[in-house]
């Protein structure tokens, strides 16, 4: 990771809360999320479905339908601008230009009746004010860069003539077309097979260095995280439960939830077969209609203390950990797991 202490953050999110109006009341999807993202940093956001990871990313670009969504509090500061109070026009100009976004399903993210050339040149003409000729040349370059073979002729093809992996490359080409300072990938490799996934991750890593972009990579796949992240942020019930440099999170998790996630991963080095059963996290994610007063993970947490049920733990620097390794927990995971190992 680059030295972050001297730089100003590219993206600053403070106390972001988002809720959705439903017939049964409000669903509290994001609850007081705050973090900084440095230029050129790759942040992986991990969490299960409903943890608020996608919703918070969509709210950065103001892509949530409002209503039913409602951003109840917070500030999102990007590259010198406040996004939550920005005008519609500012947001139109920012989307696809300052911030590029890639979505989960490459099969449905491209317009089926437009050639991919038209879909790429559209953003170039829109944001870079290029004429048709220049945009075409640039689009071929971009396709070439994301390693679409024979880009000059394939530019006239329609989305269905490409494989899933190629379509995701095209989506990436569109997202990076205007040299954004931030790329948000929302489960961008989830729908792809493992080898294609690895190629896409490699491509994003290269592009990130080339264009010195920051990347927010949203996933539930910890294998992907290990391959790409500088910083990892684990979310649960719309809040950050742990955050820190990637090595610290993998080697020294301090939240019982992170610990549970890591334990549920198959250990590939265990070549002799199923000596260890995969361990799951018992219980169900909390009902986001009515969150408990305490730590939302407490009911599923075998290490929960009485205080966990009563009071919500703040996100703060973990004891004896790397600087920047933050955790929201009342218990000390090191002590309880050590006791467990001894007992």
């Amino acid at each position: 990771m680059t030295d972050t202490s001297t730089q100003t953050p590219l993206l600053q999110i403070r106390d972001l809360s988002v809720r959705f109006r439903t017939d049964r009341g409000h669903v509290h999807a994001v609850n007081g999320v705050s973090y900084d993202l440095m230029p050129n940093e790759t942040l992986c956001i991990v969490g299960e479905s409903g943890s608020g990871k996608s919703v918070h990313a969509l709210s950065i670009l103001r892509l949530l339908p409002e209503p039913p969504a409602e951003i109840t509090s917070g500030r999102i500061h990007f590259d010198g601008r406040e996004l939550l109070t920005a005008s519609r026009q500012t947001m139109f100009d920012l989307r696809g230009n300052g911030i590029g976004m890639v979505f989960q399903n490459p099969m449905s993210s491209l317009n089926p009746v437009l050639t991919i050339g038209r879909q790429i040149t559209e953003v170039l003409r829109r944001h870079m004010k290029m004429d048709g000729r220049a945009a075409h040349v640039r689009a071929v370059e971009l396709l070439d860069r994301v390693r679409i073979p024979d880009a000059a002729s394939r530019i006239h093809s329609y989305p269905h003539e490409f494989s899933g992996g190629q379509r995701q490359r095209i989506m990436i080409a569109i997202a990076i077309a205007c040299n954004p300072r931030l790329l948000i990938a929302d489960e961008a490799t989830t729908a792809l097979d493992v080898t294609t996934q690895a190629e896409i991750i490699q491509l994003v890593r290269e592009l990130k260095d080339e264009k010195s972009m920051a990347v927010i990579w949203i996933t539930h796949d910890l294998g992907v995280v290990a391959g790409i992240a500088d910083t990892v942020q684990v979310m649960y019930a719309g809040a950050i439960v742990e955050r820190g440099p990637v090595d610290a999170i993998f080697n020294d998790p301090r939240s019982a939830y992170t610990f549970g996630l890591l334990n549920s991963l198959p250990d590939v080095s265990d070549v002799h077969g199923a000596r260890t059963r995969l361990r799951q996290i018992d219980g169900m994610p909390p009902d986001l209609h009515a969150l408990p007063a305490g730590d939302p993970f407490a009911p599923r947490n075998p290490y929960a203390t009485e205080r966990c049920f009563l009071e919500r733990p703040p996100l703060r620097q973990a004891e004896d950990a790397e600087p920047g390794h933050l955790v929201a927990a009342w218990y000390d995971l090191r002590k309880v797991t050590r006791r467990e190992a001894v007992g």
Binding site: F92, D93, R95, F103, S109, L110, N111, P112, L114
Partner: protein, 279 residues
């Protein structure tokens, strides 16, 4: 290309296009190609049978009507009114209907509900009564006829387009386009509209047939094209009372309507396939 290969590659749409082109050319060059004055009556030739031989009144290959007017000439001139009115009505109705359908489907909420109730009211209103009222209020002329026919037509587009847009706007590529900085207007015109061309074309071809028939119904009631201007619908209507004695009065305009509507449907099917990138 050999002759056999040529016939093998021919598609319904090509046939339709060929027939329609001929009809349109005949309509445009009516004064040059029609053998007789379409409104000159000659009672000596009243209900004359179709014949290829020349009589003292001139040729009448499709026969003559109850006033002795040449049916072929009347059909050639009549195609002008029929085609122009029908095409204009379908285009005007289409533009209005597609616009309302898109606004309704894309914006949703209160605007959607208001527009759809207006559509419901329009659909529930008896079209004939509306047409008669409008003719009474505005008079029967070419322009008003288009307005009336368009009014009876737009609801079908609006309903179908709204349904398609409702479904399309939830698709991920729309979200991707928004994330790439596209405005609502751009999303509608550049991303959603090309996706709904197929159903629009299908509705338009069906509507064209329906509007031609509707025009003939209005003409039959005397509120369509005003005599002596010939139109296929009027000719069909007038020929109805003679059908047992002189079948050619109604048969040829009917055949003309059928041929044109069929051609347009064939073209519609073909266009829909052409617009489909998966082919």
């Amino acid at each position: 290309m050999s002759v056999a290969a040529f016939f093998k590659n021919i598609q319904g749409g090509h046939v339709g296009l060929f027939v329609l082109t001929i009809v349109v050319l005949l309509a445009i060059f009516a004064p040059l190609v029609s053998p007789d004055n379409p409104v000159r009556s000659d009672l000596r030739g009243r209900l004359a049978e179709p014949t290829l031989s020349l009589t003292e009144m001139g040729s009448a290959p499709l026969g003559r009507d109850q006033l002795g007017r040449d049916i072929l000439s009347r059909m050639i001139y009549g195609s002008r009114a029929t085609l122009l009115v029908a095409l204009c009505a379908v285009v005007v109705g289409g533009i209005v209907g597609v616009t309302i359908g898109m606004i309704s489907g894309f914006s949703g909420g209160i605007l959607d509900r208001i527009l759809m109730r207006i559509t419901d009211i329009q659909l529930a209103f008896p079209l004939m009564l509306l047409a008669l009222l409008m003719v009474a209020a505005m008079g029967a002329n070419f322009f008003n006829l288009i307005v009336i026919l368009a009014l009876t037509s737009w609801t079908r587009y609006a309903r179908i387009v709204r349904g398609e847009v409702l479904q399309l706007r939830e698709r991920e590529f729309v979200l991707s386009a928004v994330a790439a900085g596209a405005s609502a207007w751009r999303i509608c015109v550049r991303h959603i509209l090309p996706n709904i061309m197929a159903p629009i074309i299908v509705v338009a071809t069906l509507e064209l047939g329906r509007v031609i028939v509707m025009e003939s119904a209005l003409s039959f009631l005397g509120v369509g094209m005003q005599p002596p201007t010939p139109s296929w619908g009027r000719m069909l209507a007038e020929g109805r009372s003679y059908v047992s004695r002189a079948w050619w009065l109604a048969a040829f305009p009917g055949l003309g309507i059928m041929l044109v509507v069929l051609s347009i449907n064939l073209i519609g099917d073909w266009l829909r396939d052409v617009f489909d990138p998966k082919r």
